[in-house]
């Protein structure tokens, strides 16, 4: 699948932002005043910045407001609705924490946290629901999206212990997902034979493409990344996304500058891994163009 920068930026940043907001809603860490302002600013900045980036890949952004209407059937619509609900429900809790004295009601913070995580879950289901992309069509996809969100959120909200444990967990799940994902396309049972129905006649192969140039389908769904590049990027992603941030949060004194550094390194790793999430995903339509399972 085509790794569109806007979608990579959107899923990475908003996931992280909602992760931070989810922790803050639980009162972890227990911040108030200026410290709370800084953290909510970061959480909202990442979440809203990501959501804005997501509109950049639309063909007709003027119709984006209509995306709130189909929440009964569409995960993309659910994501839009829940994201706005999350941002609205977190706001009064944040205002109380930053500007007022006294404790805001616990249930309000908890409701905000649930909505933040539900947003990330809805994002992941946009991909996980697609039977046409066997690599994504797996329960580990939502586990990973949620994992990155709470792990990155823990690091950036200054929780070295929890952050390290969660990063190790997500790293393990990611490695498992890579290994399972590599076999998903073959396991889907779709071949050029089933795609054309010619499998009953014999063994088909492409003789000639229907068009001499490229087209939307090939640009959008025919993207391929070399195996060598992919394994290098996986190593870089694992190093920056998990190994280094874990080392940083364990080996350094718990002060914001080190959390920020660990978070930045982690984010760089997440970008690499998210790029691969798209670039490595094969769509069954590529079978019609003579591509075989990698």
């Amino acid at each position: 699948m085509h790794p569109a920068p806007s979608v990579i930026v959107f899923t990475s940043l908003s996931g992280l932002g909602f992760g931070i907001l989810a922790w803050l809603g639980l009162g972890i860490p227990d911040v108030a005043g200026r410290a709370a302002f800084a953290m909510y600013f970061l959480g909202y900045g990442l979440a809203v910045g990501g959501l804005i980036a997501s509109t950049l890949h639309l063909g007709k952004p003027a119709n984006a407001r209509k995306a709130f209407s189909q929440w009964r059937t569409s995960w993309l619509s659910r994501e839009a609705v829940i994201a706005v609900m999350a941002l609205l429900v977190v706001a009064p809790f944040a205002i109380q924490r930053i500007f007022l004295t006294g404790e805001p009601p616990l249930w309000l913070g908890f409701a905000g946290s649930v909505l933040c995580l539900a947003t990330v879950f809805a994002t992941s289901m946009i991909y996980a629901q697609l039977r046409t992309v066997p690599r994504w069509n797996h329960p580990l996809t939502p586990v990973l999206f949620l994992g990155y969100s709470v792990a990155g959120g823990a690091v950036l909200s200054g929780q070295p212990g929890t952050g390290a444990v969660l990063l190790v967990f997500v790293g393990a799940v990611q490695i498992m997902a890579w290994s399972i994902g590599d076999k998903r396309f073959a396991a889907s049972g779709s071949t050029l034979g089933t795609a054309t129905g010619l499998g009953k006649t014999g063994v088909p192969r492409q003789l000639e493409s229907p068009h001499s140039g490229t087209n939307y389908l090939l640009d959008e769904m025919g993207y391929r990344v070399g195996r060598k590049h992919a394994s290098k990027l996986r190593a870089i992603g694992a190093l920056l996304g998990f190994a280094l941030p874990v080392l940083i949060v364990i080996a350094t004194p718990p002060v914001p500058v080190w959390f920020a550094l660990a978070g930045l390194v982690h984010l760089a790793g997440v970008f690499a891994i998210r790029w691969l999430f798209f670039a490595e995903a094969e769509h069954v339509v590529s079978l019609y163009y003579g591509r075989t399972a990698a």
């Binding site: 639309l58 795609a195 009953k200 006649t201």
Partner: protein, 245 residues
């Protein structure tokens, strides 16, 4: 609402005869012509006269070679357009309500006034039936020529999809699959029409008739066999001379 109807009154669709299609691309051209000048945004071409022309098409003809277990390989031309699935995944993923399946005849359509061009429906389709138009920024797909089939301003013989009307080989047939007595239903039953990628569980309406096997006698021809077993005259001399080398 992008919920799918429980049941449609009719199931309009196409039968495509892979035995008859000669791969002339006439259906591709006529589809582009009709759908550029009629319903919705035109099917644009980018860099049409340049070195890298790219355009939107609702119907494309692939070409494959299929080799049976025994017998000769054969060429199969394979036209592909929207299959108007009963469980159309492209419809339910749509966030804006632009994509819908009609209750009356099962045609899957895009309301371009509502489409925001996110492309998720194209991702959800296993068949590559949807293409986002680069100029209009909205999703384009086969409408089964909804603006022809009910159009009383056209002579009756023209009230079929443009691809069906133009096919010089008669490889494309249009009709109602909900009616077991319709031509398309009978043709599908007679010739063992198949659905594409049944494992994707989209329940496509369109059916493909498999190519008939080539004459088995063709397979017996040994084109490169030795023509003369016992050479005589000039060939005998040449044979000897070559052996001696």
């Amino acid at each position: 609402m992008t919920a799918l109807p429980e049941k449609t009154d009719k199931k309009l669709g196409l039968v495509i005869d892979l035995d008859t299609c000669v791969g002339c691309q006439a259906c591709v051209v006529n589809c582009k012509e009709w759908n550029t000048t009629n319903y919705g945004a035109p099917l644009s071409d980018m860099d049409a006269y340049g070195s890298n022309p790219v355009g939107t098409f609702l119907n494309r003809v692939h070409s494959y070679e299929v080799t049976p277990e025994t017998g000769p390989a054969q060429t199969v031309h394979f036209p592909k357009s929207c299959l108007h699935c009963e469980d159309a995944p492209c419809v339910t993923v749509c966030p804006t309500g632009a994509s819908y399946k009609r209750t009356e005849d099962g045609i899957v359509l895009v309301n371009e006034d509502d489409c925001m061009g996110c492309g998720l429906c194209a991702w959800a389709c296993p068949y590559g039936a949807r293409e986002l138009d680069a100029l209009a920024g909205v999703m384009k797909k086969c409408t089964l020529c909804v603006d022809r089939i009910y159009n009383e301003n056209l002579p009756e013989e023209d009230r079929v999809p443009a691809c069906v009307r133009t096919c010089p080989a008669g490889a494309r047939h249009f009709g109602d699959f909900a009616d077991p007595q319709s031509d398309v239903s009978k043709l599908t039953a007679e010739r063992g029409g198949v659905e594409l990628m049944p494992e994707q569980e989209t329940r496509p309406v369109n059916r493909y008739l498999p190519p008939r096997r080539k004459d088995a006698s063709l397979a017996e021809t040994k084109v490169l066999d030795t023509v003369i077993e016992e050479p005589k005259g000039l060939f005998a001399w040449l044979d000897k001379a070559l052996e001696a080398l």
